[in-house]
Symmetry: C2
Subunit: 412 residues, 2 copies
């Protein structure tokens, strides 16, 4: 019996075959993968997972592919870092950083969703990979498509950081910069997806793509010793990641891998693009789209496709949402680097900044087992911090000059 | 009985206690850690290692610390990527990339040697970490020192890539740029090390530091299913890494984890700084120091401390050495990215370039199980490739404009 039962509309419940479709014909709601959990339950155990590969594919039984994984075999299973110093600083006794800064191969959590999306896309017969991206997704699609021998087109806004643009070009896909925002890019890609037989990972293949994010939840639970955390803090661009972390934890409970899930799911945005967090604070179920203006470019989605569902998830789990200024984003990056030796990109600064706010407000308590998701590496957004970290001292190669600058005890 | 017997001079054999010393008093030769392999043999098995943590510390029994690891708990155990495409292109049937581009936390193999060096340094009572560095080492020392709560001073040459300078400053150590080459930096650090009670990881703590590189060999053997490869290709800066890969493989044989080691160890340099490869080609045992001039700045050590031992290792193992031009370095980076979706720094381009040369010359044969060590991430040396990868296409957010550029079939 098949692992995947159908695609199902999240709004009206209509079912569809597991093909490359993403929108309900009846009500235009988004489609999601529906699984046969009774079947999955017979296949998995803690031991079977622990015996699996050191990648996200150890959770293959929960992922929307029919055969074996073929793309992104080494993605996932990143370190869950116990953050003693940052926890002490914030007043949280058991704090962890889930560190996708070192994900294989392109240093962001997107390597997870792309591994799944392109494996499925190849099962469905696609030969060309494509995406609309705020940066990390394009890097990941370009890298994976190169390794998989697929043609590749990545579409990005016109103002991305230099490292992210290079991080596409190096793999030699077609890189198309759109003179506009991510939302303009996304709209154009939906139009192109209607015209080409291409696997747009976050358009026509989106239901499969999105499932890859669940692996962050699975890994968290396994690495915590098969328990769900009390609190998670998740950055929100489209809002999809946050919803899938909740889904993943609950799937583990459904099949008996976890006894209980009482996790509060908290969402983090940058003030300069916080449609979802704003709706939360105003007690509304629906967000109002915005025009983004923030250094957190990877989260700069003014019209987030899963914003509504992120609000539902946070409400259901009893969590909260908050947003931080660009200055607080930079301070968040520096705080994480200087306490835990982890250099994250702006999305990471957003997450740490909001983690700090929630702890300060007492929404995250000292004895809450807490996990913060750090989704991308700091080398990708250097522009955001390069002017905030000072400069090196510069001296000739002379011991006398060194001692002149640093005194007898090494103090400057 | 202790795992570490003594420090021993590699030249005259004189023994010393396992303290923070690195030079023989008698003959000024370098000191190396000497282990009690009979003792180690009683502790390790393939199963005990496989049950260990998913980090380099699964090989703790072979590493020069007395107690438990305290620094860099998540370093190592990076993917060994089967390179089907690159192998097919080069005519090598079973080619692997050992991918330290994603090492935790600073994306280079230096995270290994630093984890070991600083754990040992703390055992010896040091509170301040320091290093002379061509870039990656400083990033790693700064990050680990921040997490370990140690004071930190990193010394770098004056011409490093922007990402490497930022990759120090973000952790807020003292960063001292020396107006000179790495060799000037190294000399100055030796002087300072004589005056301060600091753990210079690659000066006074070097014997312990260097041992961390063995873990690349251990992981290779374990990830290949407990077998030694036929060929390895290793980039050479000081030459230490190459010698430690040979040492690591042979240690596994000594304690019975491997049945045989017939690995040919090959060394790779950039032509603009190839003192060791030049000596090899001229059939000499001793290299002549050079003034480096290459884009492969991480390998720009004109007076390599382990150059002599690297020549010995290659001779003993029946391997070879070669060097590549700066253009070939860039082509190597692009080839790896475009065949395997891995974006490496210039040292990686050196390794791939030399791998290609050795294969072309028939020194690496089609059926040689071959591993190439890719030691650092491409985002750290963007300057080297940014002008060689073209530019994105740039269009307004219009379907008509897209089709105008890319035609009906998506061809530009």
């Amino acid at each position: 019996m098949a692992k995947m039962k159908a695609l199902v509309c999240r709004e009206c419940g209509k079912e569809y075959p597991t093909e490359a479709i993403h929108v309900c014909e009846l009500c235009f709601g988004p489609l999601e993968v529906k699984y046969n959990y009774d079947e999955i339950k017979t296949k998995v155990s803690r031991q079977s997972i622990e015996a699996g590969p050191k990648s996200l594919w150890r959770y293959q039984d929960f992922l929307p592919i029919e055969g074996k994984p073929t793309v992104g075999l080494y993605a996932g299973f990143t370190p869950l870092v116990r953050a003693h110093n940052l926890g002490a600083y914030l007043g949280i006794d058991e704090l962890y950083i889930k560190n996708d800064c070192v994900n294989h191969p392109t240093l962001s959590f997107k390597d997870r969703v792309v591994a799944v999306a392109l494996t499925r896309a190849r099962e469905l017969g696609f030969e060309t990979a494509a995406c609309a991206s705020t940066g990390n997704l394009a890097n990941s699609v370009a890298a994976h498509a190169a390794q998989a021998g697929m043609q590749c087109y990545v579409f990005i806004p016109g103002d991305l950081e230099a490292a992210k643009v290079l991080g596409n070009l190096i793999y030699r896909p077609k890189v198309i910069e759109i003179e506009g925002t991510y939302d303009d890019v996304n709209r154009l890609c939906s139009e192109i997806a209607g015209e080409r037989q291409w696997a747009f990972v976050n358009v026509n293949v989106r239901p499969y793509y999105a499932e890859g994010s669940k692996t962050l939840a699975y890994e968290t639970a396994e690495q915590l010793g098969w328990r769900a955390p009390d609190q998670v803090v998740v950055p929100m661009a489209s809002g999809s990641l946050l919803t899938k972390i909740w889904k993943g934890l609950n799937e583990f409970k459904t099949v008996g891998l976890l006894d209980a899930v009482n996790t509060k799911v908290n969402g983090a945005q940058a003030e300069g693009c916080s449609p979802i967090a704003t709706a939360y604070k105003q007690g509304r179920d629906f967000f109002k789209p915005v025009k983004p203006s923030t250094i957190a470019k990877s989260l700069a989605i003014g019209n987030p496709a899963d914003g509504y569902y992120a609000l539902k998830t946070v409400a259901e789990s009893g969590g909260a949402m908050d947003a931080v200024s660009d200055d607080e984003v930079v301070e968040g990056i520096k705080l994480l680097a200087q306490t835990e030796g982890i250099f994250a990109e702006t999305a990471g600064g957003v997450t740490i900044g909001v983690l700090q706010k929630l702890a300060k407000q007492g929404l995250i308590k000292r004895d809450d087992v807490t996990v913060a998701y750090i989704t991308g590496n700091g080398l990708k957004t250097q522009e955001a911090v390069v002017d905030s970290v000072g400069r090196p001292y510069r001296i000739p190669p002379s011991l006398a000059k060194f001692e002149q600058t640093f005194g007898q005890q090494g103090e400057a």
